[in-house]
Symmetry: C2
């Protein structure tokens, strides 16, 4: 099927989904999860073909992300089932008031319509995204990476079978079969068909969407996260927080990439940091963190000299850029210039500095005395998420079910006219 044909089917399925009750949507989710389990053999067979084709083409880390087994298939089904317990985001009354003339004005949450998701090679995104769309009343058009195409297609086929088994329209979930760049461009410019585009992936994909999309788009993901250790920081807290933010899982978007440290405490703090992240980890047989130091930090501890680009790089690795600053103002100025507006934090015991930092730093999540690793729908208590929005329009930070809705005003009267 061409991408255009898929988009027409998706658009035509919108109204049907609008009219489903919460119970019907939950029944669909249950059937989708069941069908994933029942079709495990086929999914694993197609996954093996994807893996064979990808070996030698993509990195071992990426191969690992792509590989499925019984446990991962079960986890996908569990991820779909988990949405059943979450409240239906559609139909929430956000506000309601009656005007003097008797008109009631009700602001009510409604689905976006058709949501297109362009993502890379992780197969579980296929089932997660489809389930989030369905629960939030949106028709999904998925466009996964070509390395995982056979797997994703098998997962979608299973979910469509699930929908059919309970008498629902299989077009509520769609996957684009053209895996060339052309189909991504088609989705980005499908005005009148795609109501929201969500790219999930690296910098290149996000930039392509920002530059080329003529449909509404939400940027997700890229995180150059900063932590500033203030003059008035509790240095032990700072060490614990930075160790966690940098090393607990360096490959994710909410990991720390840049450390800013106040010049008045750098002399005491940086040697302790080096002991913890470099020498201590080596002694424990863990991968040490490579410290990339600006000229002031390099006068205090040993490390790799930082290049300018190190302060604009999402390393996603055991690397930390370090810069000594004169205070909270310079720290905030640096963050304003270099942040990707994802997650940035301050470690301080001083309330005024904390307030200045949280007021002026313009990021989705701004932390005081905590690890940036908490920026996550699950951690925030919002349930599963479609990604982390780094833009200001519509949704910012974790995008859960509510963020996949918009609203409309429903105005009810008995013949009122405007004077």
């Amino acid at each position: 099927m061409t991408t255009k044909e898929i988009l027409i089917k998706a658009k035509n399925a919108k109204n049907e989904l609008l009219l489903l009750s919460t119970e019907e949507k939950n029944k669909a989710l249950d059937a989708m999860a069941q069908a994933i389990l029942e079709n495990e053999d086929e999914i694993l067979r197609e996954n093996a073909l994807d893996l064979d084709a990808a070996r030698g083409v993509i990195s071992d880390v990426m191969l690992d992300r792509l590989a499925l087994d019984h446990k991962r298939v079960s986890d996908m089904a569990k991820g779909v089932t988990a949405l059943i317990a979450l409240p239906d985001p559609v139909g929430r009354v956000i506000s309601e008031h009656t005007l003097e003339n008797g008109l009631t004005v009700k602001k009510t949450s409604v689905p976006m319509g058709v949501i297109a998701i362009i993502y890379e090679s992780r197969p579980n995104v296929t089932s997660d995204a489809a389930a989030l769309c369905l629960k939030s009343g949106n028709v999904a058009v998925l466009r996964g990476g070509k390395e995982a195409f056979r797997t994703s297609y098998a997962i979608v086929r299973a979910m469509k079978k699930g929908l059919e088994a309970v008498g629902m329209n299989p077009d509520l979930i769609n996957i684009v079969t053209d895996t060339t760049r052309e189909s991504a461009n088609e989705l980005m410019t499908a005005v009148g068909y795609v109501d929201l585009l969500i790219p999930r992936g690296g910098k290149g994909l996000i930039r392509a969407c920002t530059e080329n999309a003529t449909v509404p788009c939400i940027e997700t993901g890229t995180g150059i996260c900063h932590i500033f250790v203030d003059e008035l920081a509790d240095l032990d807290k700072a060490l614990t927080i930075i160790e966690n933010a940098k090393t607990q899982r360096p490959s994710v978007c909410n990991a720390e990439e840049v450390l800013l440290v106040h010049e008045d405490v750098a002399g005491e703090f940086l040697p302790k940091l080096k002991e913890l992240l470099v020498d201590g980890r080596k002694a424990e047989g863990k991968p040490p963190v490579e410290l990339r130091l600006d000229s002031k930090a390099a006068k205090i501890i040993d490390g790799v000299p930082a290049r300018d680009t190190d302060f604009d790089t999402e390393f996603l690795d055991y690397i930390l850029a370090v810069k000594v600053v004169s205070g909270v103002k310079e720290a905030v100025e640096h963050i304003t210039l270099h942040s990707t507006h994802h997650s940035d934090g301050i470690v301080t015991e001083n309330e005024n500095n904390a307030l200045y930092f949280t007021t002026v730093v313009d990021s989705a999540a701004v932390y005081v005395n905590a690890s940036t690793r908490f920026t996550d729908g699950g951690q925030f208590g919002l349930g599963c998420e479609m990604g982390i929005s780094t833009q200001r329009l519509h949704a910012r930070g974790p995008m859960g079910l509510n963020e996949l809705n918009t609203y409309k005003y429903i105005i009810t009267g008995n013949g009122q006219v405007r004077k």
Copy 2:
């Protein structure tokens, strides 16, 4: 000054505005209003030059919109002052909760940053938009129509004087001095400088923004509004509502452009409608409404045969396209294909039909038994507005102060790390 230089100044002023208290912003608004009144002579002098240059170039209706007098200047100042009483949208705690690990997660409203507004020739948009931006914590970059440039520039100059008089940065309000198409393009693509672009104007401007903007953009304005008279409508209510929606002020975006009428009541309803909107108005010396009829309606009453394009036209005039449909489903299908997602209504006494209509019609405002003319920030009780958003992302319908904000999460702990 080049547009780029203006954008740099605007960006640099962002943090200053973030740190102003509500009282300081209100003081600024008061000073801006005062300065508009004090500089009335200069504003009127510049306006006279604009009018001289525009005569013969733009229509009489547009000339009237452009012309200022003592009353209109006073009204502009009053519009600015009116914002003082409205609640500050910045710093609202949208939600707050404490996680098991003791972290508090606070979702707080914050300004967008720099808002660029591209608009056409009404001078009062200049003061309204500047004041709405300031109260909502945003730096304004205005780019008005070239016919009104001298007037707008004089208004901005006055407001800047007002800011300076109370010791504030005049760069909080900016106007682009290049009135060629080039400066509009620069604003649309000023990634890193413009945090939100709001085009206010006709279809051509909106389309140019949708197609070319690489900065976040909110579409406003175009309204092809429908009213459907159901089989189970109270026909007297329907007549009153349609008369108001079509004739009370036909030049605005929430006026009705298309009437859909159920085939079972068309025979009774259409002759009454023609009597009211055509013959009755003629008898009273008011401009009659031109009815453009589809083939079924033309069998019932006299009128102009409708062309296909009449159902996709924002007339903004005493013209109404009329189509006979088989029921609420066909009405909703027609609206889905032709609506601009602004305001659409149903007249019916049947609750199921009303529910079906409000559920499936995907517009910012959906009406039951009331005139579409109510879609307006003031009418909805939301205060002044920057325009009516017809898109789904972020803000939908009237964009008041709250809609000119985004949010961020502020997370406060005492050393928490992720397990």
